[in-house]
């Protein structure tokens, strides 16, 4: 093993793309089970995550001259789903979760953060959240 950070593992990359065909990027929302958050991404690029408050993190594109948002994440999803009473089955949409958070936390600071989210991602709030575990998150969380 070489101890340096300039290496590219192109052989491993080549093997990987042979095993997993690359799909064209489309804006998406998905549940990250490892970190219990929902990630909404509207552009494939390098980005920096900036924490807005305990629930929201905003993603800013790197390598551009003007600040541009390309995604955000919503943290603590299992607890949120229980509190929001989201449906046990059927699709869950980003807008549903955001509106629920606003009902749950109506304080001014949360309103301001959600305004920023809605302003920057108004065309993507109807994205369906994919990769939710079988059975609802709410049911799973309540069974713990």
């Amino acid at each position: 093993m070489r101890n340096q950070d300039e290496a590219l593992s192109l052989g491993a990359l080549g093997q990987f793309v042979g095993a997993y065909p690359i799909t064209l990027f489309r804006p998406l929302a998905y549940y990250d089970k490892h970190l219990d958050c929902i990630r909404i991404q509207v552009k494939d690029c390098s980005f920096t995550e900036v924490r807005l408050n305990r629930l929201f993190t905003l993603w800013y594109e790197n390598h551009v001259t003007s600040k541009k948002t390309v995604g955000f994440s919503i943290k603590g999803v299992k607890h949120l789903f229980v509190s929001l009473g989201l449906p046990e089955s059927g699709p869950v949409y980003v807008a549903q979760i955001i509106d629920g958070i606003l009902r749950l936390y109506p304080e001014k600071k949360m309103q301001e953060v959600i305004e920023v989210i809605k302003k920057n991602f108004k065309n993507f709030l109807d994205l369906e959240v994919t990769e939710l575990p079988p059975g609802s998150i709410e049911t799973q969380a309540l069974s713990k």
Binding site: Q4, L8, G11, I22, H34, L35, R51, K144
Partner: protein, 179 residues
């Protein structure tokens, strides 16, 4: 220790078949028993496959460069996330996480399926990799110290070079800084 077969070795990344699963093994720094050590971090190839299905090519490029060949030159290691985290039947999953941070010499950009382009580091940013300690799957994967959960850029702390901004509030504690 489980037997496993190494299918490919490329710089610091090995692709291995372990108990029927394809797993990337990455050598990286760890801090155990009051000393710096080299540890093996893992990522299921199927988990990286989800990035391909989603078209997240930049993250794939970063994995085969900054993650795979960068954990070994980690600058700081932090223990625990300062937020409640429930996952994998674990109510205290936030305490099972470690975070490795550093400031690489470059960022990675997807060029094509055979190539990754090196581009400049975004100014004032550090690269972090979030790891779940391997506590639940030690029988099947005893060689793995921790699982790679996530990698991304965050703003750099003003007081501690190569650390994420507000690291004191973000993480339980800093357990290691490479001299």
């Amino acid at each position: 220790m489980s037997d496993y077969e190494t299918l490919l070795t490329d710089e610091n990344i090995r692709l291995c078949k372990i108990d029927g699963e394809l797993v990337y093994l990455i050598e990286g720094l760890a801090y155990e028993n009051d000393k710096q050590q080299t540890a093996t971090y893992g990522l299921f190839q199927s988990d990286l496959g989800k990035y391909a299905e989603r078209g997240q090519l930049t993250a794939i490029a970063q994995f085969f460069s900054l993650v795979g060949n960068g954990l070994i030159v980690t600058r700081h290691i932090f223990f625990g996330l300062n937020r409640p985290l429930l996952n994998d039947n674990n109510m205290d999953a936030d305490k099972d996480k470690i975070v490795l941070s550093r400031k690489p010499r470059w960022d990675a950009k997807w060029k094509d399926k055979n190539n990754i382009e090196k581009i400049g580091v975004p100014p004032g940013k550090v690269f972090v990799t979030i790891i779940s300690m391997n506590t639940k799957h030690l029988v099947r994967f005893p060689m793995i110290y921790g699982w790679v959960d996530r990698w991304n850029w965050v703003e750099e702390d003003e007081g501690l070079a190569e650390a994420p901004i507000n690291w004191v509030e973000r993480y339980g504690k800093k357990i290691y800084t490479r001299p």
